[in-house]
Amino acid sequence: MDLTIIQIILVIIIAFLAGMEGILDEFHFHQPIIACTLIGLVTGNLGPSLILGGTLQMIALGWANIGAAVAPDAALASVASAIILVLSGQGEAGVSSAIAIAVPLAVAGLLLTIIVRTIATGLVHLMDAAAKEGKIRTIEFWHIIAIIMQGLRIAIPAALIIAIGARPVRNLLESMPTWLTDGLAIGGGMVVAVGYAMVINMMATKEVWPFFAIGFVLATITEITLMGLGIIGVSLAFIYLALSKQGGSGNGGNGNTGDPIGDIIDSY
């Protein structure tokens, strides 16, 4: 479908916000579930965009900027794939191919972030010079310029995709054979694991693995919703913290060996 001027402007503003947030990580306009939904909202494609946002969010759950490491870029992935989905006019049927397009875009976005962060190094030196002069305004100015650069990082590619237009995008997507789109959908079901693996690797210790196992097994009971699992998880954490404190304070007294079953056996 073709977009009106107002729709195009709104989409580019959303893209700008997503780009800013890609570095700031505060309001989370760059998270797929927000960015895709907003683009769907302003273009009148709320339903399919919502599903795209949810699906991409699942894939991007574990993507986080930790220290100096940069995760695949959710901002470009969600903005560009939502625009492509809207332009293609395929509705819900286009979601899985839009996701397949999103992943290479996440890589491209990552490269763009690295470029902007390198340019920012130069800006910081301009701030140093301003600091020597005590020029507060100038420091603020360069900081805001750096944020705007991050916004443009996504807004410009978004504008380019809109400029290329609906027809080429639709042709591209329609020329994809079903074995390819089905295969990509299967791949999409698996790539979620990468994000989870990243998070687990950061958190895993001997102490927390049993909780992973309990969560895994309880999730097979499909009647328990995610909310329900959350409540069980919070309760387990509280129980564990309370019990581990009791164990600590009881040490050294009453022959408490920290092995309750052993204690019972001994007393018989």
Binding site: I23, A100, R117, A120, V124, G134, I147, M198, G215
Partner: protein, 303 residues
């Protein structure tokens, strides 16, 4: 200067708002330094009036700084308290201020990452995404509102806490409370991750293991049903009684795996990804690789 210099609540609110943009000029040399200075500006304006003082303050706040963006707030709070003392003539030198910043940023990042990136974001995100995938607009609304309420609340209260406690905060930090929160967050996070791996990593194998012809009476005999709605009724009744829809019972490889525990394939894949990550394989290579595997296995008829 007889009058004591004091930051107003308005200054602190302004600093809190500015700290939202702390990562704005993130760079490879000194990371969050530009954003840190940007956040400190209302305090510098309030506390220092001469050009020399302001210049010195700006330069000392352009030093290296990097932590989780939200837990920068308590560090800001403490630094504000220190700057206030300094402006009032207390002997707080540059190294003391930089020392506090560096001393706090490491341990605090160790709290912020598991709390926000590894627990809150996956949990809220998964909850919202599962709503959104079923077409429910509440998903994104819930995510946006809850995330920002928690974030903004945390940043304001921890900044105030840091400001009021001043340099004493390091004692508070080593106390039990924060340790408990961090530990609780990682326990909860791992529990939810276990559930997410089971529910959302989808690995389905399609090859057929066996096809068994069913006995008469075990399946719905479509050719002998009465005509019209009566036939539909009979068919539904028979289905309800546990009769099969077809005359053969097809068992796929996936059915065999599911009878052990559903989600085994996803678990194995996740463990494989963890191992590859530890072998320093780039996540992006793995993501692209999995798409290729998906296509190839689908074409071969395995998935």
């Amino acid at each position: 200067m007889d009058q004591e210099m004091k930051l107003t609540k308005r200054d602190r609110i302004s600093i809190w708002w500015r700290s939202t943009f702390i990562q704005g000029s993130w760079n490879y040399e000194r990371m969050q330094n530009g954003g840190w200075a940007f956040s400190m500006i209302p305090a510098i304006k309030r506390l220092y009036k001469t050009k020399e003082d302001r210049s010195a303050a700006l330069q000392r706040h352009l030093e290296f700084f990097n932590t989780h963006p939200y837990v920068a707030s308590p560090v800001l709070g403490v630094t504000l308290a220190l700057e206030e003392e300094r402006a009032n003539g207390a002997p707080v030198d540059n190294t003391a201020i930089q020392g506090v910043k560096v001393g706090m940023m490491g341990p605090l990042a160790g709290i912020g990452d598991p709390m926000f990136w590894f627990t809150l974001k996956p949990i809220l995100g998964a909850l919202a995404a599962s709503l959104a995938m079923s077409g429910n607009i509440l998903g994104p609304i819930l995510y946006f509102v809850l995330w920002n309420l928690i974030r903004m609340g945390f940043m304001w209260y921890s900044q105030e806490l840091g400001y009021k406690a001043g340099s004493k905060i390091t004692e508070d930090l080593s106390g039990g409370m924060l340790k408990d929160i961090t530990k609780g967050a990682s326990l909860l996070g791992m529990f939810i991750l276990g559930a997410l791996v089971n529910r959302w990593v989808s690995v389905t194998f399609t090859p057929t293991v066996s096809e068994v012809e069913l006995n008469e009476g075990a399946y719905i005999d479509w050719s002998s049903l009465p005509a019209g709605t009566e036939g539909v009724k009979t068919a539904l009744q028979q289905y309800d009684n546990g009769r099969s829809l077809t005359d053969t019972n097809v068992t796929t490889l996936q059915d065999n795996l599911d009878s052990l525990i559903p989600g085994l394939g996803g678990l194995a894949l996740t463990l494989l990804c963890m191992w590859l990550l530890r072998k320093k394989v780039s996540p992006i290579v793995m993501i692209l690789g999995l798409f290729i595997v998906g296509i190839v296995f689908h074409v071969l008829g395995i998935m």
